[in-house]
Symmetry: C2
Subunit: 525 residues, 2 copies
C-alpha cells in the first residue's frame, strides 16, 4: 500500500528560468498510507534530504491510528544475503506475517495470497491492505505478508544501524534480491506445509506492485497471477516521457480550476523574488507559519511541491484519516481555498491557505516543521540511487511546477557523494525489460492485473492498456494511488466497488483455470 | 558444444554391496567436443578428482585439431562481477567473438545469433558449434559467442589464479550472473550498434543449452527464441529419478549386446576381488596397461566408468576425431570387442580390449595415465558443488554400474571440505522452476526447442515432449549429446539432416512472426 516513493532527484537549472539561482528540483513521493518522505532539492550542488516523517514516528502514530487490525502470526525466516553469489555472508532474519485461519489447506489445494512487501515496515502494509484480508476468506486463502529486506525488522547484520552503515552493508538492498527472498520463502513454506500444490496469488501496491508484476515475469513457476496496483513499471529510462509524473499532478489541479493551477504556477517566481529581498526569508517564514526561520527558498518550495504531488496521489473520493486527516477529493478543497480568497489576497496567502488543507486540515497545527529531523540514510533513497532511477522533469506547457530537466550526470554525482555508489540507470530495463517490456509480457506472460487510478501521478508510468487477454489494465478515472488495495469503506463509490469486483472475478478465473488444469492432468494420469 | 559436466558425486555404500569397502561412486561428464573431466570418487571420505584432460592441454590440442575454423573478431566487454548487488567489486573483462559479415544490419533488422557460452574456453565452443556458423548467412545474421565468466579468458580478478584462489573469489561463478552478463552484453551491443530492433536468437548445448532455455525464461525481452540442445534442465532435485543417467548409459550397451552389458556389470566385482588379493593392484595395473601402479581399485573403476558414460554421450553414428579418434557408433565397437574374445578370455581381458576402443582407438598408446595431473579447482567442480546439484544414483536392475545411492549429506561434507562452500541443492529449482517448470513454461513461455538425442544419457534430464505449440521437443532416437549443433559432415544421416532442417524451419518461423508483428505494429501506428 503505502509507500514513500522517492524519485531520483535529477534536475538542471532551466535555461530561461526566472528564478535567479540554478534551481535544482526534485521530489519525493509517497503513499497511500500517507507517508511522505525524502524530497530532495539540489541547490548549487548541495542536496537537501528532507523527511516529513521518520519511520519510528510514523509507526508509533500508526499504532494509535484507526487502521483496521488484522489477525496474524509474526514469524521469521533465515534468508541468504546474496542469493546470486556464494560469498560467505551472514544470513538475516526476514519477518513475515501469516494467517491460516481461513485457509482450505493442502488437501483442498487452498490458495496462498501473498503481498510483496515494499519499502517499509510490513505491519504497516498489512494494516493498510485491507482488500487482501477481506477477500481471503471467500477464497479459503492463506495470507502472507513477507517484509522487504532492509525495512522494518528484516535487517541484515542484526540492526538497522549496521545494515545502513555504508554502501557495502547496503549493497544487497536490491529488487532482485527481494524477489529471490520471496521465491525462497514461498518455496520453503510450501514444502514445510506440504502445500506444494497450493496456488499462489501475488498482490502489491506501488513499488510492491512492481515487485508483484516482476515476480510474475521472473518467477512464473512461483505464482499463478498477480494484482499489481499503481505499479510504475515503465517509469524508467525513456519508456515514458520524464514530464509524465508532474504533468499528471498538475492536471489534477487544472481539472479543478484553471485559476488554481495558474496561482500555483505563478507562486514559484513570487517565492523566489521575496526570498531574494532583505528579510525575505523571514517574511516567507511568517507567511507560511514555519516554526524555524527558513534557511533557503528551496526548502519551502520543496515542502510545497511535495504536498502537491502527495495530494495528487491521495486524491481519494472520500475523507481519509491516516497520519493526517484529509477531506475527500482534497485537491478540490485546496483549489477552492486558493480561489476563494478575496480579490486583494496575495498569491502567497492563497498558497498558504490552500496548502493548509493538506498540512493542517484539523487546524490544530500552530507552525510547520520543515526540517523534521532526517533519520539519515533511508532505504528508498539508496534504492533510488542504485536501481530505481526514474527520470523526472517538468515542462512549461503541461506542468504547474518550475521547469527542470532530467540530468543523469548530476544524479550520478549526487549519489556518489551521498552514498558512494554509482547508479545503474539502464539496469532495471535490462533485467526486467525496457521498450520490449509489454511485448515480452504479451508473448511470455499471463495473469497480471495492472490496476491504476488515473488521478495518481504514478499511473503514467504504469500499464494502462490490456497487453493480452490475461494481462489486463483496470483503470479508474477518479482513482488515485492504489486505492483498490485499501479496506472497503461505507463511502466507496460504485466505480471502486466495480474495480474490486473485477479484480475478484479475475483472480477467481485464474484459480478456476488452475484447478481445472490440475484436474485435467490428474484425470489424464 | 563441448562440455564437461561433472555430476555432483554423492553416493553411499550400498547395504549389500559385495565390494568390501564403502564404495562411493561418482562421475564426470563431458561434452560434445569430447572433453571428459572431473570424475570423482569418494573412498572412506577421501575424494579423488581425476581429470582426463587439463584445459591447457585440451586447448593446445584443439589448436592443432581439424575442427573447422570460423571467422570472427575477438572483443572484450567490461562486466560487473555482481549484477545483483552494489558491492564495490572489481569489474572484469568478458571476451566475446563476433562476426557481422553476413549481418543484414539494423536497417533491415538483421537477426543476432548468440551462443550462450558454457563452462570452457569460448573459442573451443565456437570451433565446435558449426551449425550456428553455417546457418547464419542464410538468415543474414550476426553471430556472437560470449564467453562464460570464470572460463577461458573471461577471468575476474585479472587471472585464473586469482579468480580461482578461494571460495570468496569464486563466489560469483553462478548461472544467474552468467545470464545477467549475457543480458547486459546484448543490450549494450544493440545500443551501440543501433540494433535495438534486431531480434536475438539464442543457441546453447549441454550446460550452455540450459543457459539458453533459462535465458528465455528469465529474460524473455532479450531474445525471441532459443535452441537448447541436450540441456538437462530437469536433472535437479527429484524431477527425474536419480538413476536416469546411468540407466541410459547402460541401455546404450544393453541394446548392442546383453552379454556385453553383463560382462561390464560383472567386472566391478572381479576388479574388487583382484584388488584385494596380494599384488592384486599390480596385476590390474598390468592388465589395463596403466603407466603408474594403481594405488586403489577405485581409480581404475572411475577410469572405466567415465569411459562408458563418455561413450554414451558421444555415441555418434559416424567416426569423430577430436581429442581422440573414435569410430562411428563406438559403443557397438566396444561391445563387439568385449564379446568377440575367445571363450577362455577373462572378464578383465574383455573389459581392457573394449575400453581400448575408447582410450586407444589408434593403437598408439603404450600405457594409460589415469592420474593426469589434476589442474586444481575447476570451474565446473565449483558449480557442481554450489548450484548444479544433480543427484545421481545407480540401481541393480537398470544399471550395469555398481549400485549406489545419492547422499546429499556426504555431498555437502565433501563440498565443504573441497571448496569451503555449502551446496544449495534446492536453489536451481527455486530460481528456474522445479516440478512446475514445464507448466510455467507452457503458461509463460514460447519459442524454445529442446533438442535431444536419446542415446545421450543427459537426455533423460531434458524436455522430451512438446510443452506447448511453440515450446517443442525434437528428439532423435539415434542421436547423442548435442550432435545437431555440430558442423555438417558428408556422413550425416538423414535423421540428423531432418532434425537440423526442423530447427531451421522453427527459427525461421520465430523470425517471420517477429517481423510480422513489428510490421503490424508500425502499420497500426
Amino acid at each position: 500500500m503505502v509507500l514513500e516513493f522517492a524519485v531520483s532527484p535529477k534536475t538542471k537549472p532551466p535555461a530561461k528560468m526566472s528564478t535567479p539561482s540554478p534551481f535544482l528540483y526534485s521530489i519525493l513521493i509517497l503513499i497511500v498510507s500517507f507517508l511522505c518522505q525524502a524530497s530532495a532539492i539540489q541547490l548549487n550542488g548541495a542536496r537537501y534530504l528532507g523527511n516529513f516523517w521518520s519511520s519510528s514516528r510514523t509507526l508509533s502514530l500508526l499504532a494509535k491510528s484507526r487502521a483496521p487490525k488484522y489477525q496474524y502470526e509474526t514469524k521469521y525466516f533465515q534468508q541468504k544475503l546474496d542469493h546470486f553469489s556464494f560469498a560467505d555472508l551472514p544470513s538475516f532474519s526476514q519477518r513475515y506475517l501469516i494467517n491460516t485461519q481461513h485457509w482450505e489447506g493442502p488437501s483442498r489445494s487452498g490458495p496462498i495470497f501473498l503481498y510483496c512487501g515494499n519499502e517499509g515496515d510490513i505491519e504497516w502494509f498489512a494494516a493498510n491492505t485491507g482488500f487482501v484480508w477481506e477477500i481471503a476468506p471467500r477464497f479459503g486463502a492463506m495470507v502472507i505478508f513477507p517484509e522487504h529486506r532492509y525495512y522494518g525488522e528484516s535487517m541484515p547484520y542484526g540492526s538497522k544501524e549496521e545494515a545502513y552503515k555504508n554502501a557495502t552493508t547496503l549493497s544487497y538492498l536490491t529488487a532482485e534480491q527481494a524477489l529471490a527472498d520471496y521465491a525462497v520463502l514461498i518455496t520453503e513454506l510450501k514444502r514445510n506445509l506440504s502445500a506444494q500444490a497450493c496456488p499462489v496469488v501475488l498482490f502489491g501496491g506501488s513499488y510492491g506492485g512492481m515487485l508483484a508484476a516482476w515476480m510474475r515475469l521472473k518467477y512464473p513457476h512461483i505464482s499463478i497471477g498477480a494484482l499489481a496496483s499503481s505499479a510504475p513499471v515503465l517509469q524508467f529510462e525513456d519508456l515514458v516521457p520524464p514530464e509524465t509524473f508532474y504533468s499528471i499532478v498538475s492536471n489534477g489541479f487544472r481539472r479543478e480550476s484553471m485559476s488554481c493551477f495558474n496561482t500555483i504556477k505563478e507562486s514559484w517566481d513570487v517565492i523566489n523574488k521575496v526570498g531574494q529581498i532583505n528579510s525575505g526569508l523571514a517574511q516567507l517564514t511568517k507567511t507560511f507559519h514555519i516554526c524555524r526561520e527558513l534557511e533557503s527558498v528551496d526548502s519551502l518550495s520543496n515542502w510545497l511541491e511535495s504536498a502537491y504531488s502527495y495530494l495528487a496521489m491521495v486524491n481519494y473520493p472520500y475523507p481519509t484519516d491516516f497520519l493526517m486527516p484529509l477531506p475527500g477529493s482534497p485537491i478540490k478543497e485546496v483549489c477552492r481555498k486558493i480561489d476563494s480568497l478575496p480579490d486583494g489576497a496575495s498569491v502567497l496567502q492563497r498558497i498558504f491557505e490552500g496548502i493548509s488543507i493538506y498540512y493542517n486540515y484539523t487546524g490544530k497545527v500552530d507552525c510547520f516543521d520543515l526540517n523534521d529531523d532526517p533519520h539519515g540514510m533511508s532505504g528508498w533513497d539508496w534504492q533510488a540511487c542504485t536501481e530505481m532511477i526514474m527520470p523526472m522533469a517538468s515542462n512549461r506547457t503541461t506542468s504547474m511546477f518550475p521547469e527542470f530537466y532530467y540530468d543523469p550526470k548530476s544524479n550520478e554525482e549526487q549519489c556518489l557523494k551521498d552514498f558512494h555508489v554509482k547508479p545503474r540507470p539502464t539496469w532495471i530495463t535490462t533485467e526486467f525489460g525496457g521498450h520490449e517490456f509489454k511485448s515480452a509480457l504479451k508473448a511470455f506472460g499471463s495473469n497480471i492485473i495492472f490496476s491504476n487510478g488515473l488521478l495518481d501521478p504514478w499511473s503514467g508510468g504504469s500499464v494502462l492498456e490490456d497487453v493480452s487477454e490475461t494481462i489486463v489494465a483496470l483503470t479508474t478515472k477518479k482513482g488515485a494511488h492504489h486505492l483498490d488495495l485499501r479496506a472497503a469503506t461505507a463511502e466507496d463509490p460504485d466505480w471502486l466497488l466495480d474495480q474490486r469486483s473485477s479484480e475478484i472475478k479475475l483472480i477467481r478465473g485464474w484459480l478456476d483455470e488452475h484447478y481445472d488444469e490440475k484436474k485435467a492432468i490428474s484425470a489424464y494420469r
